[in-house]
Amino acid sequence: MDKPEKKRMNKWGILLWGILHVAIIALGLNASPWKIDSNLFSVLPPSQVSAGLGDADAELSRRTMGQMTVLVGHSDFEKAKAAADEFDRALRGNGQLEKVSYLVSDSSMDEARAFAREYRYALQGEAFMDRVRQGGGAFLKQNALEKIYGGFSMASLENLDEDPFLLSAQAFEDVLGNLSFMSKNVELRDERLVLRDSLRTYVMWSASLVPGASTFGGDGSALQIIEQKISELKAVDSALVVATTGVPFHSYESSSRAQLEVAVISGVSIVLLLLLILSTYRSAVPLALTLFSIGVAIVSALSVSWTLFGSIHIFTFVFGTSVIGVSIDYAIHFFTGWKIREERLDGGGERGLIFKGLVLGFMTTELSYLALTFAPFPLLRQMAVFSMAGLASSFLTITLLFAALPAARTRAPAGFALGAVSRVLDGYGTILAGLKTKRWASLAVAAVIAAGAAVGVYRVQWGTDLKSLYTMSSERLAQERLSMELLDFGSSGSYFLVKGSSVQEVLEREHAFCRRLERERTDGVLQNYLAISRFVPPRSVQQENFEILSRAMDSLTVAEMHRELGLRSDSAFRASMGQGLKVLEPESKLPANFEKLLNSLWIGRIGDSYYSAVMPLHVQDAAKLSGLAGDGIYFMDKVNQINENLTRLSLTALALVGLAFVLVFAVLLFIYGFAGAFSIMRIPVCASCLVVALFGYLGIPFNFFATVGIILTLGIGIDYSLFFKEGRGSPLTVLAIALSALTTILSFGSLSFSGFSPVSTFGLSVFLGILFNFILSPFAGSRGK
C-alpha cells in the first residue's frame, strides 16, 4: 500500500470510528435521564414459575419491597417521642415517600366502626356463624344481651334500633381481631404506635417508597435524608437507639458500599495499571492513549446499556471495572509492538502484525459474552452487553484510530523485561522439549495434575445459597435483629399465591384454603396467617351468612328482642334489612388502616387471571407448608426457588458458552487445523478445570457467580493462547501477553476484595482463571500448522 492510499485509509478509519462513537454516545445522551438501579432484589433472577404467577409474584414484591419501618427508642418515652416527632417532620411531605404512617388518628376507630356497621352481614367470622347455625335466633339474642349486660363490654349500643342483635359490634371484633395480629407487641401511646423491650420504648414510624424512587446512596434521596436525620438525632442524644428495617435500607446500604467499592477498586486498579504501563513503555503517549481507549470504551458501554436497558444496575458498574482489564489488553498488544519493536513500525504496520490475533481474540471473547446474553437473567445480560460494547469500542479504537499513528519517535528500553520473558520462555522450552522426548514423563505429569484436579473438583460444593451471598454490615444486622425482636411479625419469607379466573374464584379458593390453614394452626404447623378472605369473604359466603342471619332474625325473635330492649318500633331494623346484603369486594372502599395491609394481600388482575397472597405467620413446621399447595394454590418459597434458579442458570450459561466454544472451535479448525485448534482450546478449558479444583481445595462453594467467572475465563483466556500462537512465541508477544494478563489479573484480582460475596467470588474465579491461562498459554504454540 503506498503512502497516500494508506493516509486515505487511515482517514476513513478515523471517520468510521468517529461516526460509530458519536452515534453510540448520541444514543446514550438520548437515553437520559441516566437511571441507576440500586435495588438489591434486581440482582436476583426472576422466578421460574409460570409467566402469570411470576408476574403476580413480581407485582407483590414491587408493592412490599418499598415498605420500611423506623423505630425510635429511648429509656425515656418523652425523649423517644420528641425525636420521632422531629424525624417525622423532616420526612413528611417528601415526594419520594407514600403511605407515611405515624400519628394514629382517632378517626381510624370511627372508620373501622362505620365499616363494620356497613358490612355487618358480610363480615361475620366463621366461628360466630357456626354458632348462629346451631343456636339460631336464641343464640343471636343471648349473644347480644351478653354484650349489653355483660361485664366490661365495649360494644356500642348507639344503634340498637337498627342493629338490635349487635352484629356491627360482632363484626368489629372479628375485623379488628384479624387486623391486629400484624404485630401483637404494638401498643398505642400518646397517639403513636409504640413497642417496648426491657430497656426502652420505641416509637414506630413507617412509610413506603414511591415506585421508582431511588435507593441509591448520595443523591439526596429520601433514604439519604432518613439516614442523615437519624445521625443528627443520635448526635444530639447518644442514648437514642434507632432501628430501621425494610428492603430499601438494605439497597441503600449496599449501593453506598458499592459506590465506595467502585471508587476504591477502580482507583487502585487504575493506579497500578498506570504504573505498569509507564514503567514498561517509559512514555506518556501509550499511557494517555490507553487511558483514552479505556475511557471511550466505558462511555460506549454505558451508552449502549442505557439505551438498551433504560437503567444500569449498580452491580454492573462494579462488574464494569473489569472492562478496564479486558479492553486494555488490545491497547497493550498494540503499544508493546509499536513502542518496543526494533523495526519501529507505524500504527498501520503494527495493526497488520497483530490483526489476526486481535480479531480472533475479539471474536472469541465477544462470543462468550454473547452466549451470556441468552441467559434468562436480566442482570447477567446487562453485564454481558456492557462488556461487549466496551470491548467492541476498544477493538475499534485500536484497529481504526491507533492504526493511524505514525511510528514511535523513540523505542522504549525494554531490555530487562524482554530478557526476563526470554528466560521464562527458555524454561518453558526446556519443559516442552522434555515432555516431547519423555512421553511417559509427560503422561505421568498430566496424570498427576488430572488426578489432583479431579480430587479438587470432587470436593467442590456445587450450587448457590442465596443466604451466603448477602452479608449485612454488623450495624444493619443489629438493627434488623432489634426490629425483628420488637415487631415479631412472624413472617417466614415463604407464602402462597392463590390464582383464579375471577375475583370470586380467587376468594372462594382462598376461603377453602384458609379452612385448611385453620386445621394446620390447630396442629401447630403455624400460629397464624394473613389472607384477604378473612376481611373480604367470597360473595357466596357473604350471601349465605346473610340468609342464615335473616332466618335467625325471624319476626318472633325480633319482636322478643325489641321487647327486651324496650324499643318501641322495629321500623329502623326492618328498613335496614330491607336494603338487603351490601356485598364487600376487594375493590370496595376500605378504612385507610386496612388498605395498607390488604394492598399486600390482594394482587388483583394479572393477564387473564386474578391473584391474591396468603402469608403464613410464625411457622413452626416449614417443611409442611409446600405440601399445602393445591388446585390454584401455589407455594412460593422465594429463597429456595432463587437458589434453584441460580443453579439452573449456571448450567444454562455453561451450556451456552459450551455452544459458543464449539463455534469458536469450528472457526479455529478452519484456520489452524484440528491439532492447532485443539492446542489453543485446551488451555482455557484446562485452566477452568483447575479453577474449579482450587475452589474445591479452598472450600469455597462453586456458585453461580463463580460459574460466570469461569465463562469469562474461557472467553478471555483463549486470547492468550491465540496471541501466543499468532506471535509464534516471540519474546515481544509473550511480553504483551504477560502485560495483558497482569492488567487483567489486577482488575479482577481487585474485585476479589469486594465486600459483596457475589462480586468477590466472581473476581476470584476470573483472577485464578486468567492466572492459569497465562501460565498454560505457552503450551498453545507447541503444535499445529
Binding site: 366502626r113 349489653i148 366490661f152 401498643e187 400518646d190 330492649l565
Partner: protein
C-alpha cells in the same frame, strides 16, 4: 313521674360530681394523697364483693341493670360473675378475656390475637386494681377528696383512639373502691357500684383456674 324525677335528679347530681372532679387536676401535693388511696386499693391481694352495673343508653332512654359478684385479684385479673338478669361469667387476665354463659358455653379472646382489645382490657384491669403506673401512663388524672373521707379520681384517656371506647372514668370510695362511672365513646355512662367489699379471702381453685 316521681321515679322519673328521682332518676333525673340522680343523673344530674352524678354528672355534677363528674364535673367537679374534672376541675381538679392532680397537683404535686395531691399526688401523695392519690398514692395513699391507690396503695390502699392495692393493699389487699384479693378483693371480693357484690356489684350493680347500670348501663345507660341515652338515645333510647334505657338503663340496663345487672347484678352479681366480683373478685379483683391483684396480679391475676378480674372475675365478673353476673347473676341477674342471667348467669354469665367474665374473666379478664393479662392475656385473655373469657366468657362463660349460663349454658356453660365458653368463648375466649386471646389478647395476643387482638392488640386493641388487649389494651382496653389492660386499661380496665388497671382502673379496677388502682395500678398507678398504668393510670399515669394512659390517663390524665384528676383527684379530689371530700369532707367525709370520700375520694374521687377522674380519668381521661390520653389516647384519642381509646377515648372512642372510654371517654372518661370516675372512681370513688372511702376505704376501697365503691363506685366507678365509665362513659363510653358514645357518651353513655356505665355505672359500677360495689358493696360488701372485703379483702384477704384467697381464690378458690375454680377461680384460680379461670384466672390462670
Amino acid at each position: 313521674m316521681k321515679l322519673f324525677l328521682a332518676m333525673f335528679l340522680c343523673l344530674t347530681l352524678s354528672s355534677m360530681a363528674f364535673a367537679d372532679v374534672f376541675e381538679s387536676p392532680l397537683t404535686a401535693e395531691r399526688s401523695k394523697e392519690l398514692a395513699q388511696v391507690l396503695s390502699a386499693m392495692q393493699q389487699q391481694k384479693y378483693l371480693r364483693g357484690s356489684f350493680r352495673q347500670v348501663r345507660t343508653v341515652k338515645k333510647i332512654n334505657r338503663d340496663f341493670v345487672s347484678t352479681g359478684s366480683f373478685v379483683i385479684a391483684d396480679t391475676l385479673g378480674i372475675l365478673w360473675n353476673m347473676e341477674k338478669p342471667f348467669q354469665s361469667l367474665t374473666a379478664i387476665t393479662c392475656d385473655k378475656m373469657l366468657q362463660k354463659n349460663a349454658s356453660g358455653a365458653v368463648s375466649q379472646m386471646n389478647m395476643k390475637d387482638n392488640a386493641v382489645f388487649g389494651q382496653v382490657s389492660q386499661t380496665i384491669q388497671g382502673i379496677f386494681s388502682g395500678n398507678r403506673k398504668m393510670l399515669e401512663e394512659r390517663f390524665q388524672i384528676f383527684f379530689e377528696t371530700g369532707k367525709d373521707g370520700l375520694w374521687t379520681i377522674g380519668l381521661v384517656p390520653k389516647e384519642s383512639v381509646i377515648k372512642k371506647q372510654i371517654s372518661s372514668v370516675v372512681l370513688s370510695g372511702h376505704k376501697w373502691l365503691e363506685k366507678v362511672t365509665l362513659s363510653d365513646g358514645d357518651g353513655n355512662p356505665i355505672l359500677y357500684e360495689f358493696s360488701k367489699v372485703e379483702g384477704g379471702i384467697s381464690l378458690t381453685p375454680e377461680e384460680s383456674a379461670l384466672l390462670r
